[in-house]
């Protein structure tokens, strides 16, 4: 018969300290977590309202002026979260999201791992080369989409050079649609790999802490 035993706190601490696998470290500071979830929620609203504005679903009789307002408001939210992350990175001198040449050199090996040609992923900094490429591209394309969104919001009153460079409203709309497709194609990959590669990393995005395996001697 199984008995539940209430242990004294000092004993519990000793058990944890003695048996913990690896070490628990803070890997995602509070501002990073706020950015991640805030940006994620904003992006979900932006993309879903954007798709609704692009091609209205006939089973959803939504008020379109409100859909447009939601699209614009959450775009500003997302930009705000991005600004938070950027400021946080500057203050902490955090360059973990900027891909470097040495990161990219590991990319073929990482692909070999994903295609089952290697048993383990190559060594990486905080993020592997695939993550770096995708995350960094997300920042860039989101800023591009926001910029084009701003140009279309002002209807050619400001940022006229953008209209001329791009070639008109229809091209702005086309580029924004392609960007949303890029997000829709890469976000599921991000979620899938977060769930199946290192669940401790996912936990860190909630609690801030992750467990690092013990260093091999």
């Amino acid at each position: 018969m199984k008995h539940s035993v209430k242990l004294r706190k000092p004993l519990l601490k000793q058990i944890k300290a003695d048996n913990l696998k690896g070490s628990i470290i803070q890997s995602q500071p509070l501002w990073v977590r706020i950015f991640h979830w805030g940006f994620a929620i904003s992006l979900v609203v932006i993309i879903s309202t954007g798709l609704q504005l692009h091609k209205p679903a006939h089973f959803l009789a939504l008020n379109f002026s409100k859909v447009l307002v939601a699209h614009i408001v959450f775009s500003w939210f997302a930009l705000g979260f991005l600004a938070l992350r950027f400021t946080d990175a500057l203050i902490r001198k955090d360059d973990s999201l900027i891909p470097k040449i040495r990161d990219l050199k590991h990319f073929p090996k990482l692909m070999a791992y994903y295609f089952y040609l290697r048993s383990s992923p190559p060594p990486a900094r905080k993020y592997n080369s695939g993550q770096l490429l995708i995350y960094f591209s997300w920042f860039l394309v989101f800023l591009l989409a926001s910029f084009l969104g701003l140009a279309s919001y002002w209807q050619g009153e400001h940022l006229i050079w953008v209209w001329r460079l791009v070639g008109g409203f229809q091209m702005i709309r086309w580029i924004k649609f392609m960007i949303s497709i890029y997000f829709l194609a890469t976000i599921p990959v991000h979620i899938y790999l977060s769930l199946t590669e290192d669940i401790s990393r996912l936990q860190a995005m909630v609690t801030g802490y992750e467990r690092r395996p013990p260093k091999k001697n």
């Binding site: 003695d18 048996n19 091609k55 089952y116 649609f177 194609a185 599921p188 899938y192």
Partner: protein
Amino acid sequence: MISRRDFLKLVVKGAVLGNFSQLITPPLAKAVAAGEIHKLPVVMIETGTCTGDSISLDNIWTPTFSDILTNILDWRYDWIMNQVQGQEAYGILQETYEKMPQEYILIVQGSMIQRDNGHYNHVGYENGKLITGIELVRRIGLKAKYVVAIGSCATYGGPVAGYPNPTQSTGVQDILPERRVINVSGCPAHPDWIMGTLLHLALYGEPELEKFGRPKLFYGETVHNRCPRRSFYDQGIFATAIGQKECLFRVGCKGPVTYSDCPIRRWNDRFNWPIGCNTPCIGCTEPGYPDLMSPFTSHLPDIPFPGGTKVNTDSIGLGVLGLTSVAITGHVVTSLYKGRIQKNLLKTSSKTNHRPALKKAQGFHKYWLKKTNKV
């Protein structure tokens, strides 16, 4: 003479009431009678065109086109309107060019055909030599007081420059980069847009232009913003097929991306306009028309691939998403089969190296850790 402010008011009022030309005629007649208006000489060169803009311009009801020619503008050279032909007609063009530099308005209708130095588009015959459209437009345009491009072809290339653009056609601004070209776009351009721009030039000089060189007084707002069916859009009530009375956005209406005052000005003496007869706006006033606006029943343009194939943007989007879904599903199945997912989850989710063993100490509810060999 009426002030510019009053003129702009008449433009809007005329659009709403549908009698712009009627409203503008009396003050103009007074100004002409008082000698306040110096008749501007006008020459029109047609290049790669279907002449649709001339036909559209002829569609002014009151005052008639001849009234305008007689009283306001000195219409000197135009293939459709010429009373003479051959060298005699061409001589008038040359005379205007030589004797009235910086005085005349050059109107260009049709796209600039550039392939093989423009030799697929001859517009004149001079000293035993065929003159190309780009050559004549450049020569006449450089000495003109104003250069006005009318119609989609002259402004941005239009259907003539459509994919794959075998004639390498383009708009007038591209071959006259030294000059500011006033674009009166549309396929065809509305007669009020053409005549309103010419009247503004005659009375007050160059009108305020928007981002693509079009007069703001006609191209300042999108069709969507002024559309009488806008309330349907705002409420999310959409037509599911062409011919229905609701908002035509779902069946490819380009109103949201098209700048023109069609909804208030309408066509054929304010009789009707495309959305009024339940067909979507095709965005004919915008740069990139028709490639960027076709298929007309779809929001986004088809994307050309090598070999002449065109694929719809929505289909490409769905294809990419489908491919991602298939790739992720395949990876999940393979990872489960190879045990990678199970291994990764165990490796990253087990908290301790081994289960702690406890031994009961002497006493009530006291436990000590058993000393075990750690893994």
